[in-house]
Each structure stands twice: as structure tokens, then as C-alpha cells.
Symmetry: D2
Subunit: 348 residues, 4 copies
Amino acid sequence: MTGLVARKSFGSDNHAGAHPDVMRAIVEANTGDVVAYGADPWTERATGELKRLTGAEGEVYLVLNGSGANVLGLGLLLGRHEAVICAETAHINTDECGSAERILGTKLLTVPSAGGKITPDLIAGRLSGRGDEHFAQPGVVAVTQSTEFGTCYSLAELRAIKEFCTANQLRVYLDGARIANAAAHLGCPVAEIAACADVLSFGGTKNGAMGVEAVVVMHPEDGINAPYLRKQHMQLSSKMRFLGAQFNALLTDGLWLRNAARANAMATRLAAGLAGMPGVEVEYPVEADAVFARLDPHHVAQLQRDWTFHVWDETTSTVRWMTAFDTEETDVDAFLADIAAATGAVSV
Amino acid sequence: MTGLVARKSFGSDNHAGAHPDVMRAIVEANTGDVVAYGADPWTERATGELKRLTGAEGEVYLVLNGSGANVLGLGLLLGRHEAVICAETAHINTDECGSAERILGTKLLTVPSAGGKITPDLIAGRLSGRGDEHFAQPGVVAVTQSTEFGTCYSLAELRAIKEFCTANQLRVYLDGARIANAAAHLGCPVAEIAACADVLSFGGTKNGAMGVEAVVVMHPEDGINAPYLRKQHMQLSSKMRFLGAQFNALLTDGLWLRNAARANAMATRLAAGLAGMPGVEVEYPVEADAVFARLDPHHVAQLQRDWTFHVWDETTSTVRWMTAFDTEETDVDAFLADIAAATGAVSV
Amino acid sequence: MTGLVARKSFGSDNHAGAHPDVMRAIVEANTGDVVAYGADPWTERATGELKRLTGAEGEVYLVLNGSGANVLGLGLLLGRHEAVICAETAHINTDECGSAERILGTKLLTVPSAGGKITPDLIAGRLSGRGDEHFAQPGVVAVTQSTEFGTCYSLAELRAIKEFCTANQLRVYLDGARIANAAAHLGCPVAEIAACADVLSFGGTKNGAMGVEAVVVMHPEDGINAPYLRKQHMQLSSKMRFLGAQFNALLTDGLWLRNAARANAMATRLAAGLAGMPGVEVEYPVEADAVFARLDPHHVAQLQRDWTFHVWDETTSTVRWMTAFDTEETDVDAFLADIAAATGAVSV
Amino acid sequence: MTGLVARKSFGSDNHAGAHPDVMRAIVEANTGDVVAYGADPWTERATGELKRLTGAEGEVYLVLNGSGANVLGLGLLLGRHEAVICAETAHINTDECGSAERILGTKLLTVPSAGGKITPDLIAGRLSGRGDEHFAQPGVVAVTQSTEFGTCYSLAELRAIKEFCTANQLRVYLDGARIANAAAHLGCPVAEIAACADVLSFGGTKNGAMGVEAVVVMHPEDGINAPYLRKQHMQLSSKMRFLGAQFNALLTDGLWLRNAARANAMATRLAAGLAGMPGVEVEYPVEADAVFARLDPHHVAQLQRDWTFHVWDETTSTVRWMTAFDTEETDVDAFLADIAAATGAVSV
């Protein structure tokens, strides 16, 4: 049947369903009538907890998906005429169909990145036209943590970006669709990551939720128009309690962190299994829930008969293997066995 | 506790939760991995069934909420420079924070409406500047069925609008956030309503879903850029199966129609109980799930101590009382008793 | 030949050409090379003089036409999510093809107006939804001085609006396409009008220029992104000296005020001649360069054989007669004679 | 005095004023009243002549500047959701402050270019995500002729691009701000260049006009919304006759081509003089009115004391020297002498 995945998918962390605790919370929230659009106890609890967790002094706004979070978050920080500096490989640049340009009318000033990460030097290279009315004027720097390539900025790296931006009148937006994986990898309070941003998204969907993200405003003055922009951007949910309930489950007893740690561990296990396997070259440090690898196109094709995953770059025969909150060790081991077989590392 | 509603709310059809069958379908869809973004069996079944139900020859696109549906639907029909003719009281004009203007850059050319309904004559009055580059050029007429005032266009009224529009090179968008209530009231196949539009939304959320709407494209050529605009408008859900599952439940054994019929019947019961009650004047024909009434501001204030509902217009002391798919006869009767008491229709 | 007007046009103040002094200034500016985009002595002199004249503490930006001035001016004051309150009859609402919505993504919240003028009460009526995320949030009030109907706000009226706006966190944009006519009528320094706005346009084109308007920023902090928005809005002229030269001519020896006074006087003369003429009813106080009148449609048709003017409203048979900086008394008298003849006020 | 350039500027072709014939035409057009917004004989003659010259079957629209022409031209061809493929170095990408993104909401998908020119292969490299809703969908390819680097596409190169685009459902926009220079270089009818585009701009300002550009629509069906978009984009001039008059002068007796040929010849003379000059490296073929050269930063600084020109790239010490319609041989020779002196090619 179309779209059903027989074996555990390594295609995306959103091929998984919702964590049972999340589903249970949704079911339990389905009781009686409550006021719509967020003035309900589930939403209040979720946003309150997210404020505490991130150390935000501004408010937290639940939204419907990752693009919605990114566009709202950028919109809060951008002056009407300003542009965004981001990695060429940033999700907002490559995977959102030009949503930032369409909705915000902003230009993305891209910089090349190594493993999805940008640096103060790369940002500095985009500032030469400042003050000249002919050139797009950068106002926001967007970083992704963890990155689209399964790498993580260290706190030192993030702080260096934040300091540079503060010194150069640039605001920082952090795409945290997978911020949980970064927190798990760094072993630090998520507030230390959040402190390096002015506005960030905090992802739920890729971490076991059914479908919810949060936009976190660190400084109150940046959130003044957030409720209105969320509505204009079509990101205001009427039966919001079901968004709040999802985050409540994730935020109970650190489920969010355990889910991320599990996904990370499974990616690490996969990478460890690949180490030394002839014909497979892992491309980036494996610091979150993704493994990028190069292998022979024929081996890719053979693996795709039984397993679900994306070819990231056909020209280099690079594949992306993603784990999820519910990936099992046996899934990884079975996949490894087939990779070994396909690449001839073992006889079959 | 904030937002919790002790008694059945008459505030909005989205104060209710999800219908148990919808919740069950969501839970059941949470099984194993599936491809994201809609290539899953739940979504395929839902969109296929919605095509059949509406008679659409184009495709159906699931989206995340009503504003998302309206803006996408309008965007599919509008030329880049075109404006929309709609009722002054249309949801897109009054309740979406200017989303159509913000996202589509379009102008809304409003006409006064009686009970939320517009007519060919009213539309004609907005066509005088056609062909003059100084004037906004109408390209789409937007109607709401059932309307924001709980009234329904008859099929004859809708057909007259469609014919007028066809004859005048105007496209028709139908905001069907409550199309089920209209189908229940008119007792006609929903396809007969849909045939009067070029693109319509088909509401789930107000009819017992947790949160899902569909954009239905009647003619294939109008849907060419729909997938891309849905993504740009941040309305593409990754774990789409959970949207599909909701519609599957609603579309099984006509649950969508039964839910709407129940809500309509409860509004009718409420109106019947108000009839002849001194001090309460019902404003519009009650043809869907809403009753608009005028009563003394002091009586309103007294009722709001125990019951949840909106004052629609303070200047006229008009209130809106909404029913929902799960309103019980006993809810209506208890509310009626309190209204009677408050307005002095009975001694307390 | 198409478009040529045999007799003096009463159709629009932009049917006239450029004042000879303006043309002379343009020709004289055509000497040698100068830096482009405004860093030239003509532009510097013009903007400096306009600052002095209006009392602006911010900068002055020359732009290419009236719509360009209005959209830029509004854009400087609007928050990203905000809407504009204006008269239903405002040029930005009725005559710019929806430019403000298209370019700024803003909604225009219109109020009915008497003779083009709005009041604090009318503005107040649009503030009820403030703070509710479902409603468009007004951020700017736009007034036109002199209005589209040839009337002028008194300074007291303008000050009342400004005070109301200040007290209600609203900014004021003043469309001054015909601000010169208002200054001439009121007999006050233009700075007193400008002081009632946060940003205004100062029109050149309708007052004898070939084609130039200025956007005047009263407070420096509102102009921070003005150079960039002007460029993005395609209003930055490369050979800017020719824009500057036009204003220099108008600002020399008060030509701008003399031009406006002449146009006003001719409208007043026309209105005086109409007074008591049977079959002609003047609609608004004649305080600038326009006369609106109602007369029999057959008389309108007869007059249009020889004279150029617009029928403003066919349903009421209202016409608009505009004068210009170069309208002569003999033009007015000849026109009056024909009006009298057409309406039967005199035998022919 | 600020901005005045003592010697002939090599800074830009818009540092020059207007050609005397253009100025004369403007003065002569200042006669009597004419209907505004383009229904005048000057505009009709200009647009008619431009249609004839380019072979356009659609209409020609006069606009106010180059950015205005580019944004309008792109807007006519782009579907609401579509993106633009262009050279990284294209004027629309680097010099218009993000106007295309701001006004059209479109994304620019850039390709590296050699000397400003792109190729079918480079375009093809941007088509891999077609049909995937996550990726921006290219709908238009934008080329510049002559390019921002003073090079020209050959007709064969342009035709190859057009053929590739036609075969791949892509439309072609040609930025012809300096199309006259290309026509002069190629020695071909401008219609042969225009035939390679669906919509193009035809530049006046850089070729001796005071300030006017034309948007030329090759196929009538692409121009349906052009009048409205021009107005919405604030590019509709009220006293349009003065735009028409400028083009009339340029189009009389081939002045446009003579102006361009003169500018080209002066650039060629400059390049010839530089040939073999030690310490000066000309970067691109000199095929229009620009010479890009690298020389020692100290020599650049010395030359800038007396001469006006731009440093294009400080990191490589590349300068841009532009000629204009009124550059004299003596200007070039004096400049060459100073370059030689500065670079030590001759003793001073």
C-alpha cells in the first residue's frame, strides 16, 4: 500500500508516528469544552514549561509546523527591508519552497557551510554592502541546531556567533527543529543554547510529537507583534489544547530529551557499525540523528529495495540515513547487516 | 482553571473537542512508519473520498486550519494583480487579521451583506472600475456557506452567483468551514454546493475534527501550483497521516453529515425555545449552528456568569450562540431556562 | 490627435505640463557629470529646503510619483503586521489599484468620510478589535490634505487627529499630493500642517513639476530604513539631479505657493460663477483646486463635447472640475459660459 | 560641491546627463494640456516605435527606472509560486536591494557566471528539484544583455538559452538596461535579441535619456495584467508624455544606436590603450561600455584623487570603468595618460 514502510524507515525522523505518551496526552485532552486559540490549561502549561526550559523572558507561541515556526521567528526579528544571512544548505533556503521570500519578502544571503555550520567569518563576508541602499541589508543571522547534516554547533561556536552578531547589530534566529538532539549531544541545559539566540524554534514533531513546534521569544520586546503575525501566517490553531497536550507529554519527565538521546544513540550506533566498512564513507561527524554516507550507486539502489531512505546528492551518491525516537537497536543492526551485504563487506 | 468551560459552551463550535471516532482514527493511524507529507494511505483515502463527495475533477489538499484553507484557495484563483469581492462580514475580511492582504497582497473589495449573504447585484456594483488601471481589479468572488451568521445560501442563490461570475470572468471561492452544516440544512449532495465554486474549502475542525481542513480544486488546471503554494504558505503537514485519519473518520458512514445535522438541530431547538420569549429577538434565520440574538445588556451580563458565549456587537447588544456536534438537548434546555430566567420571561 | 486637449482641461491637475521655471531648471541641471542616486547639489538643495519648510527633523526622500510616495511613507510607519485606517474615499484606497495591499501586505480599514475628511470619532470606531489577534491591528492613520474632494482640514481638525493618534499609539501619515493647495487655503506655514503628521508626502507633480514627489520624515528614527525601502520600492532615481532641480524651481521665491494659490483661486472663481446657477449644485466647500458638482446627465454629455473633465459618479451625475497652476481666468469664464448655456441658465 | 564631477566620470553611464536631443524633446512636449497616464501622442509614438523595433506582438509599457522595469517584467512571467534563475552577478540579485524578493515574493536561484553570462548547462543544474513541493520551482530565467560586466551574449548563445528554456517550460526575461550597447556590438537588429526573450526591458536612462525605461511584452497573452501591475508597482507616470518624449528623441534617426556605439567605442579605445600596459589587467572581453581591470590598490587610490570610478571588488582590487554616450576621445586619452602615470607605465 502506498507510503507504508515495512521496515523501520531511515528516511526521516518524521516517518515515525507519535510517541505513545504524546498520543495518550492528546486523548486525555479531549475532555469537555475549552476556550479556543490557546487560552486553555494545556497550552498554558506547555508554554510556561518551555519558557522555563529555555530561559525565555518573552513568550512562547505554539505553531503548526517547522516552516511556520521558521517564517514566524524570522519575521519577528526582521526589519521590513532586511535580509537574512544563512547557510546555503539551511532548511529555510533549500527545503521550504521559498517560503521566507514569499511570505516575508526577504532575501536570503547565503554563505557556504561546512557540515551545515556557519561562522563569524562567513557572516562577516556578507556585511560589505551595509549602508549602501543598492544592497540587501542583513538584519538577521539564521543558524540551525542541530544542523541539517546531523552536526552540532558547540556552545563556544554558538556564543562566538552571538557575540559577533551583537557587536554587528545583527539578530540571531535559531532553527531548533532538532534542538533536542543538540541538547542531548552537548549534554547542556537547552537554555544555554537558547541564550545564543534572540528567537528560536523548539521542535516537537521530529522528536515524537504528532505535529507541533514552538516559537520562543527570548526578549519580550521582540514578541510584540507575534500573536498577530502568527494569525496572519495561518499558524494559529483553534483547538490549541491538542498542541499544548503534545508538548506537555514531551516535557514530562524529560521525555523530549530521552527521545532525542535515543535517536542520537541509534545514529551513533549506525555510524560505529559503518566504521571501517569498505565502500562506505561517512561524511560528517555524527552528532545528532543523521548519518550522511557515500557509497556506490549500485549499492544504494540495492538497499533501497528493502529500506526507505533519501539519496541526498545523486552527483556524489551521498545518502542520508535518519534515526528517530523509536528506532530500535535491532533496526540499526538489521540495516547494518544489509549495508554490509550490499557493499560486499560480508558475503551473503 | 483558565479556559476550562464548566457547562457546555455556546461560544464557538471550536470550543468542543474532537469526536470520539476522530480520536480513535488518530490513535489507530499511529502505527509504524509511513512516508511523510501525504504519500500515505490515510491521506490518499481522505482526499479520494473528498473528491468523490464534492465531484471535484482537480485534487484535494489537506491543510492545517481555516485561514490556511482560505488563503490557499484564494491564491489558486487570483491573478497576481487581482482583488477579491466578498461580504463586509466575511471571515476573511474580519477575523483573519488581514491574512489575505498580508500573504497574497490582494485587496478585499467588500460589499454590505444581509445575514452574511451576497448577491449578483452586490457583486455587479463592484465591477465599475474594470479595465481602468487605477482601480483594483476583481478576479475572485468569495462566498461563505454556511455563512458567518448561521444562514445558508439556497442552491438557487449560489447558482445565480456562479452564473453571474462565469458571465463576468470572475472565479468563485467558497469558504466551506461549515459546508457540512449547509449540506445538512439544504438536504442536498455537497457536490451540488461545490459545483457552484471553482475552489472551496471543506471544513473538518468545526465539525468534530481535531484540526484539519481541505482545499478542493474543482478544475484540474486551477491546481497546478497548489502543492507549492501549500508549502510556501506553511500548510504542509509532515505527519500528514494524522490529518487524513481525521477526515477518514468524518467521512465514514456519513459522520460529517450527522455531526452537522446534530449541531443544526440544537441551534433550531434553541431558536424555537426563544421564539416568543419577551426581551429576546433572534436576528437571522437559523439555518445552521448559530443563533444571533439581541437582548438587554444586563441580561447578557447575567447569563455570562454561568455560560460561555460571545457578544457579537456591543453597540446593539447582539450575542452569538453556537452549537456543536456534541451539544445535547439537555444543554440547550438548561441554557434556555437560564435565558428565560435572566430575561424575566419566567420568575426565578 | 489622441489625448491632446484643445481647450484648457478641467479634467485633472496633471493634464497640465510643467511650469516654465521647472522646465528651465531641468535644462540648466543638464550640465556635466554628477554622481547618481542623489549625492548631487540639486538634490541636496531640494531636500534641505523641504526640511526647512516642513520643519522635519528627519530626512526628505525624493521619489517618482504619488503612489510611490504614499506606499513608501506608509511603509516607514507600519509595523510588519499592522493595518491602516483611512477614508473610504482616500486615494490609497480607491485610485492606486491596491498598491498598498500588494506592496506592503497591509489592510486598509476604511471609514466613511464627509467630503474626504475623517475625524477622531471615526478613527475611534475602528479601534475596537485592538489586542485581539483575529483582527487587523491599526498602526497608522492616513489623511489627505487637501482632500480628494477639494476640501481642507483646518489646523484644528488636523491637530485633533494628531492628538487622538498620539494618545492611542497610532502614527499619522499625511498624503500631501496637494499639500500646497492646503497651505495656500489655510494661509499658514506648511510646517504647521506637517507638524500634525509623522511622515508626509509633499507633492510636486500636481503643482507644476514634471514628475517628482517628496517623502518627508518628521522624526529621524522613522527614517532609518527609508533609503532601502525607497530602492526596494523602485523609487530611487539614478539621474536624481533632475528630480532635485524640479523642486528647486518650485521652492524658489515661493513658486510652489503661488502655483497653488492660482489653482485655488480659479476653482473659487468657478464655484462663484456656479453659485445660483439653476441646475448646478456644488457638493463640497471649494477650498482647493477642485469643484464637485451635480448636474443633469444630458448637460454633462453636452459639455463633454467641448471640454475635458471626469464624471466622478455616474449614479448621481456628479462631475469633478479641476483647475491647475496654469488655469487662466479666461478659461474659467469660457467654461462657465458654456455651463450656463448647457444647463439653460442662459439662452444660447 | 558635493557630487559634482570635475572631469568626465568613468563611474557610471548614469553620471552623464541627458542627450541634448532628449532634453529638446522634453521641452517641446511641454505644450498645452494632454490626458495623463499615457493616452497622449508622445507615448503612443514611443511605444509604437519600440514595438516595431523589437518585433513585439504584445504591448510596450514605459516605466520610471531600471528596477521598476525588471520587477514588472519578471512579474509578468512568474507564476505566483515561482522562482527565477539568474546569474549570481545579475543586477536583480546584487544591486536592487532585494527588490524582486520584496515586491514579487520570489526566490532568486543563482548560478555562477563567467563574465556575467549564463548557459543552458548552468540553468539545467538548477532544475533538479522540479516537481518536488519542498523546492523552489523555477519559472523564469533572467539574462542581462549587455551584461553587468560589459560582455555580450552572441545571438547563438541567446538562442541556445531560449531554446533550452522553451524545451523546459521556462520563460525568459531579458534585462536590457543596456540592450542598445549589445545591439551596437552585435551589429544586428534589436529584434533578433528581443526574439530570444518573452519579456524584456529596453533601457533609455543609461543611453542618454533623463529617466525612462520600457518593458516590452513579446507575446500579447503575457501582458494582460501589465497595466495593473505597473500601477501597483508605482511605475505609472501621470505626465507620461515626458517619458514618451525621451524615447521619441532616442528613436529618431537611430540616436539610441549612435549613443550606444559611441559609448562602446570609447570603452574599446580605453581597453586598447590599456593593452600591454604593465600593472593593468583587463578582466573581461570589452564588448559594451565597461572595462573591468585589476591594478595595484595604491594606483587605484592615486587615480581616484582626480577621477571618478568604482572599485568593484576590493579583495581583488578590481575597478569598473564605464563610458557613456557623451564620453569624448580626449576624455579617454587623458584618463589613459593618468593611468599610465599612476601605474608607472610612463614616467611623470
